[in-house]
Every structure is written in structure tokens, then in C-alpha cells.
């Protein structure tokens, strides 16, 4: 599904990703955890195609070279990124935006545009999923939304777009416990054998709701450790301190619950 090999990203002289390797199989959920400044968000934006980075290495999604594509083509190839800070777009209606997005991707794939009636069905199902009221779609995209509403809107978009790979960048940040539950429920119900997810988070809390198949620790631009969900629990107890030097040994993990 997704193969990331020796991915590097830098801005000017600052090297942020220093050779990141990652394999995500179909239907798998991977969590990427790491301290502030380790490159978590840069990794997400490198996948999504933000301008301004110098990028090296390879990223293949279903065999297609993502790094060669514009952001909109990556979306058409099946990538969806949930933003840590969803952008407010005053004056652009949320419903219109969703429909434009969905139809853009459908056109790029050579499919017909969705009819107004079918779209309404899709949108209503997605709204139910994130427990949003009808008026939500008539507002401007994210404009004046609370932190929780913005994150729910991201999951709503994901539900409408039905991506092959979802990268969720700190989707839990700024959420109270109720919003976290709603967002996690939304994510869990979108799990499926044909859809993979990368959940980027600073805290273990989200992973109590979204059980990952694999947990990776990202430190200083590299993945320094991978394991099952118990790795997250270890981080919860011990923090990232033990990972900040790269020569990690097994003794360090001896305290991790199994």
C-alpha cells in the first residue's frame, strides 16, 4: 500500500526529516508518536505535498510515485490528510466545498460527477458519523468553528472522500474528551480492509480510542523504534527522553509492559 524509503525533507539549511522509512500495509493503522520538533507534521505535509520543502527519497502509494504529484493529484490517488490546524475559509460554503472536492477527485479518476441527490445522502451519512447538526454544512469552511468542530469537519471530509490512505495529523490536539470520542468513533468506523491510516499524535490518549496495529517512534527526523500498541504505553510512562539519543538498546524498553 504505502512504501516510504529514505524520505528527507529540509527547509533551507534545516534538515527536518533525515531518512524516514515506513511500510504500511492495506487495512493497517499505524501510529506515529514523537516529541515536539521531531518532524511529525513535516512528514504529514511531505506526504500531502506542501510547497517549500526540499524533498528526497521515495514515497509510493499503490505503486504510484506520490512525490512527483501536485497535492490535488495525491488526493485523486487516494491520499487524505487531516490537518492539525484546519484552515478557515470565510465565504466558502462547507457543503459547496465538500461537493467540489469530491467531484474534483471523481473527475481526476475519470468518474462522473456525483448527482446533487446522491451527494446529499453521502453528506448526511458523514454528518451523522461525526454527530453534526444540519446547519454545519451551511456555514463557511471552518470559519468561526470551535477546535472540536474543526476536527470533526476533517473527519467529515474524510468520510465523504473515502481515501485509500488517511494521514491524521494530531487530530486529538485541542479536543475535550467528548469531542475526542466522537472523532475516534468516526475514524474507527472508517477503518476497513482497503483503507490504511497513519495517526500522528503526541499523546497516547488518542490510541486508547483508536487501537493501532503498529506504533512508531519518530525522533529527530527518523523512526527510531517500532512496536505494537504497548510501545505507546511505554512512552506514556517514560516519555521520549530515552529515545533522544539514537543508539537505543533493548535495556531501555525493559520497563515497557508487554
Amino acid at each position: 500500500m504505502l512504501h516510504v524509503k529514505n524520505l528527507t525533507a529540509s527547509i533551507g539549511d534545516a534538515k527536518i526529516l533525515k531518512g524516514l522509512d515506513l511500510e504500511v500495509g492495506a487495512g493497517e493503522v499505524h501510529a506515529i508518536m514523537g516529541p515536539n520538533g521531531s518532524g511529525k507534521s513535516t512528514f504529514a505535509h511531505a506526504l500531502a505535498g506542501r510547497e517549500g520543502y526540499e524533498i528526497g527519497g521515495t514515497v509510493a502509494l499503490d505503486g504510484a510515485d506520490l512525490l512527483e504529484m501536485e497535492p490535488e493529484d495525491r488526493a485523486a490517488a487516494g491520499l487524505f490528510m487531516g490537518f492539525q490546524y484546519p484552515v478557515e475559509i470565510p465565504g466558502v460554503n462547507n457543503m459547496y466545498f465538500l461537493r467540489t472536492a469530491l467531484n474534483s477527485v471523481r473527475r481526476a479518476r475519470g468518474d462522473d460527477e456525483i448527482s446533487a441527490r446522491d451527494f446529499l445522502t453521502v453528506a448526511n451519512e458523514a454528518m451523522e458519523l461525526v454527530e453534526m447538526k444540519q446547519g454545519f454544512l451551511n456555514r463557511s469552511v471552518n470559519a468561526g468553528f470551535s477546535g472540536g468542530e474543526k476536527k470533526r469537519n476533517e473527519i467529515l471530509q474524510m468520510a465523504v472522500m473515502q481515501p485509500r490512505l488517511a494521514v491524521l495529523d494530531e487530530t486529538d490536539s485541542g479536543l475535550d474528551i467528548d469531542a475526542l470520542r466522537v472523532v475516534a468513533n468516526g475514524v474507527n468506523s472508517l477503518r476497513g480492509p482497503e483503507r490504511s491510516m497513519i495517526v500522528i499524535t503526541h499523546y497516547q490518549r488518542l490510541l486508547e480510542y483508536i487501537k493501532p496495529d503498529v506504533v512508531h517512534v519518530l525522533v529527530d527526523g527518523r523512526i527510531v523504534e517500532s512496536g505494537d500498541h504497548t510501545l505507546a504505553l511505554h512512552l506514556e510512562d517514560h516519555g521520549y527522553a530515552g529515545f533522544t539519543n539514537h543508539d537505543l538498546d533493548d535495556a531501555l524498553l525493559s520497563g515497557a509492559p508487554t
Partner: protein
Amino acid sequence: MSVDLLPTRTAALEQMQSLELPTKQDEAWRYAPHKPLGELAFGPTAALAALPSDVEDQIPDTPGPRVVIVNGVFDPTQSRLESLPDGLQVHSLADASDEAVADLLQRTYDAPEDGFSIINRAYGTGGALVLVEGQLDEAIHIVDVIVPERAQSASASRVLIEMAAASSATVIETRLGSRDLVGGCNVRTEISMAPDASLEHIVLQDLPSTQIHLGRVDVVQSAGSHFRARLFNLGADYGRVAYHVYLAGEGARADLSGLYFGFGQQTLDQQITVVHAAENCTSSQSYRGVLDDESTGVWNGGVDVRPGADGTDSVQSNDNLVLSRKAEVNTMPRLEILADEVSCQHGATVGELDEEALYYLRTRGVRQAEARQLLINGFADQVMDDLQDDVLRTWITERLGHDHA
């Protein structure tokens, strides 16, 4: 034939002898193209047998009463004035012969006359007189068309709107033109509002890019009246609209808003002054500009609070989106306060397209060109937020969409 026009015209024609056109030194005319303005030839014009089809197709198809003025002359064949509702009278200015009309035509204003408003009084013998006494549902549409007979031909016309006490109406003034000839129009609108009258006044300026539009709107408001102005300044090589709103009666309210959207080498110029001359009046100015290519936007918005106008509440905002390095915007909020207990806020912004928003849209699969358009329309459409008239809304949306197609 009306004799009543003569005194005004005579006075104006006398002034024409020593007429001085505005220069770059006049702040309100600083960005005007003075050479082509000086070359405009105003004068009587012949009526056209029929409207050019390109103009006909452009006119927003509103259902209600319609006045068509072509090259400064009222055109009864294009106008639609049969079966007007109760409480509404519409006359061709040239045919209006009431004593009262003579007074209206000679009304003087707090705002000074300038070279082009004097030209308007001298040559603007045609136009429309709208008398509103009732509460009208359907918008009254006044279409002013310029079809230059030769290069530099320019027309002058006048629109007078008299709102009786507690009356209410919507008036749309559409300004259009035809032909790739240099030319222009000089349209003066004079609005008088009796106590508690309410008027929504929309100006839709979309002349061809070879032409010049000089618009001036003078408004005098009595106590408790409510004036809503909405400007869509889209066309012309130089598209100018000046508002002078005089709040004369206690508790009067004026809300002015507008959108200017420039392409090519257009200059779109809005000159606004609201005078608070009575207690407890409220005014707002809210304008948005989008400037592409090598276009120039000018927003000069003033609030003048006169002595004794205590309890004044005014807000001004001007937000601009600049889409090209060669486009420019000049925004000048002005405040002069000579009263007490006054609240006056103003703010102006000039920005580029939000790169982060563009990226966000693109990650959702929206192609770059479409994402740009979505953001531009999102910015511009906010001027239409509470626009009730669906015909106009559709017209403007399509007009703005077409240019980017």
C-alpha cells in the same frame, strides 16, 4: 418639453464658461485619468432606434418597472412603466413639468459641485424621476446605456429619487455600454428621504473596458430614515462612483457596501463621504476590492461628524485582495470629528490570496485554478451576503465567474 429645466441649465451653462475640471491635486480625483477625462465630448445625442443586442443581453432581467436611458435620453420603447403599483410614479425627466420638479432639479448639496457635476447639470437633460409614496415590493430598475456615436462621445443623465415619509423601495441602477470606442457617461443620482423612509439602492457598473464611468450619488436623509447602498463596480477603463450621504435628521441610518473587481488596466475608484449632521445617527461603510493584472483600486472613505452630532456611531472597513504584483490598491479612511460621545471605528486591509487555504483546498483534490477561484469568490461574495434580489445575485456571480473561465 419642460421649461423648468432651463434655470438650472442656464446657471450650469454659465458656469461652464469658466469651468475647471478636477486635477491630480484634488484628493478626490487623484487617481483619475485626467487626459481622457478632459477629452470627453458631452453634448446632445440622437436616440437610437434599438438597443445594441450585446447590451440587451447584458441587462439583468428583473421583473418589475424598468426605465431605460440611452445616451442620456429616456427611451420609452425600452422602458416598462405600464401598470405601476400604487404609491409609485416614474417620469422621464425631460417630460416632467411639475413646479416641484424645478425645485428638485436645482437642489443644492452640502458636498461641493465639481467640474463634472456642473457638466452633468448642463447636459443632463434626460433621465428619470422616481417618486415613492408607498411600500413597494418589486425593485425599480433604471438602466443607463452609453453607445458612443464616435470616439470620445459622452452622455450625461440624472436620476432623482424622492422617498416620501415611511415609504420603502429598492432601486437598481445598471450602467452598461456598447462598442469598442472610447466614450463615457456621467450619471448623477439625487436621493431625498423623508422621515422613516427606507431605500435599498444598488449600482451595477459594467461599462466596456474602453469607456469611462463617472457616477455621483447625493443622498439627504431625514430623521429615522434608512439608506442602504450597494455598489458593484466592475466595468469601465475608469469606473468611478462617489457617494455623498448627508444625515440631516436624528436617528438616520446609512449602510453603504460594495465590491470592486478590477482586471486588465482598469481603475476602479470609490469616493465616499458620510456626513453626520444630527444626533444619534448610525453609518457603516463596508467595501471589498479584488485587483488582478495591472488594475488599480481606490477607496477613499470619509466620515464627517459635525458639531452637535453627538451620539454618532460609525464603522468603516475596506478589505482588499491583490492577485497580481502589478495590481495596486489605495485605501484611505478619513475621519473628522467635531462632536462629543462619538464612536467611530475604521480599518483597512490589503492582502494576497491565502496560500495556506489554497494548499488546504488542493489537498482535497481541488485543482489549483479552481481553488483560486473558490477563494476569490469566497472573498467577494461576502458583499452579497444579504442581497435579497436573486436575479442580481445570479447576474453578478455569473459575471464574475465568466471572467475567469
